[in-house]
Amino acid sequence: MPAAQLVTAAIESAINTLLSLDESSDKALKPLSGKQLKVTLEEAPWPLLFHFSDRIDVLIPQPDQIADCSLEMSFITLQNLQDSSQITRLIQQQELRLEGDIHVAQHFSQLMTQLDIDWEQQLANYTGDVFAHNLFRALKQFGGQAKSTYGKFTRIVADGAIEEKRIAAPGLLVAAYCDKVNDLRSDVERLEARLNNLSLTTQNSVVKD
């Protein structure tokens, strides 16, 4: 089975499904119509060719195929591309190799990051408004609480790192303290052994008498 085509079919289907959920995506796609963007990820086995029309077709380009814009980068750099204003900086830092029309890459980046999908409405189409609304309210509450907990945790860690570190015992002192505790433990164990021994001797002499 052609595995590469299976992957591109899945990517194509996912992208076009997302686009279909945002009514404004048609308008955003227009400047890209007829253009091709070739993306080569260092970690990926194949490059991908995105062809734009009123939808996006994802193809595996031929080695000699020239696109309107070609990008070569690592997966980590791809994540930074979410902000299209970063493209110039990434090129300067040689984290991104770009050939062709930079606007194609910028438009594509904007298109994907500015998708405005009303997920609650989408869910309501299947479950009804009440369930979708309650679910999303609960998720929002949970999200708010999680965010607040994360914020508190971050503050505690930050306070610990900034404030408490200054008055915290230095490493050598802690090591010396640990050594002393170990010595004390050894002394206690020796004393306990002597007491046991003494107790045994006393019992034996009572039995003899």
Binding site: M1, P2, A4, Q5, L6, T8, A9, S33, G34, K35, Q36, H51, S53, D54, R55, D57, L59, I60, P61, Q62, D64, Q65
Partner: protein, 280 residues
């Protein structure tokens, strides 16, 4: 009865329902012409009869063609077609001929890629297949840059050097004189253009070949009977696949008519092969 209809671009396209006029999906080798006999699957029939017989097959399966394709190949035919598309190098403004295009799977994709500056011709010799394909594509909103032409692959009704890309997917094995059809495709292809032939071929492993035989001669006609109420057409399908030239033979045929840098890719263990050749 013959009639004339308008394609999406307003070009008049001749259609014919009469079997005597529909010289379609004929399957024979040039050598058989000497005896006026040809093969229809494993059977030997008169050349004139075969046209009608194959026409009947495709008239019979046209309505359930897509469903059966998905069922028979377990959806893998879509990946084979995607591979063809990947190898086509199609881009905006190209002129593409999708020959024996059937229900238009490839034509729909090409239509999006070549855009409004390009053109796709969906050609098939079979009126029923063409009608199903046209209705399907129009319902999908694929209009504007696509024309539908009823044409015989052996005598393509287009000027020389017209197309950037020609594809023929699962159609060549039904053509009577394959050499003549390949020469005709070569003629209408622009210099620098490429021909892509997607067709059933010979599995590369013996084991797979046996499993494939078992599947296509026993299971396939039963599936055809159950879903399309037509086992004979699917029996013919299996037989016509076995009568089709293997990978190397077809490559040689393409070389012979003038194609250059000809190569082929085996897909799914050679059950299907994609042949590609360039005209320079």
């Amino acid at each position: 009865m013959s009639n004339s209809q308008h394609s999406d671009s307003g070009v008049d396209v001749l259609e014919s329902d009469s079997p005597s006029k529909v010289n379609m999906h004929q399957g024979d080798e040039a050598s058989s012409a000497q005896t006026d006999q040809t093969h229809f699957g494993f059977k030997q029939v008169a050349t004139e009869q075969k046209a009608t017989m194959v026409a009947d097959v495709f008239h019979s399966v046209a309505a359930k063609y897509d469903v059966m394709n998905d069922l028979m190949s377990m959806g893998i035919h879509r990946l084979w077609k995607r591979f063809t598309l990947d190898c086509s190098g199609a881009r905006s403004g190209h002129k593409v001929l999708d020959l024996a295009g059937g229900t238009g799977d490839l034509a729909a994709k090409f239509s999006k890629i070549v855009g409004e500056n390009g053109k796709v011709i969906l050609a098939d010799i079979n009126n029923a297949m063409l009608t199903v394909g046209r209705d399907k594509l129009r319902n999908m909103g694929v209009v504007g840059n696509i024309d539908y032409v009823q044409a015989n692959a052996e005598m393509l009704p287009f000027p020389d050097n017209t197309f950037d890309i020609i594809t023929i997917a699962f159609g060549l094995r039904n053509v009577t004189d394959k050499d003549k059809a390949l020469a005709s495709m070569y003629r209408v292809l622009k210099p620098g253009g490429r021909l892509l032939v997607l067709e059933f071929s010979k599995p590369s492993s013996e084991m797979l070949s046996k499993v494939y035989d078992l599947y296509s001669f026993h299971l396939l006609p039963k599936m055809g009977q159950l879903v399309a109420n037509d086992s004979e057409s699917y029996q013919y399908l299996a037989e016509s696949i076995r009568m089709h030239p293997d990978q190397e033979t077809l490559k040689g045929m393409m070389d012979k008519v003038g194609f250059e840098q000809t190569n082929f890719y085996n897909l799914t263990g050679g059950i299907v092969a994609l042949h590609r050749g360039y005209k320079f």
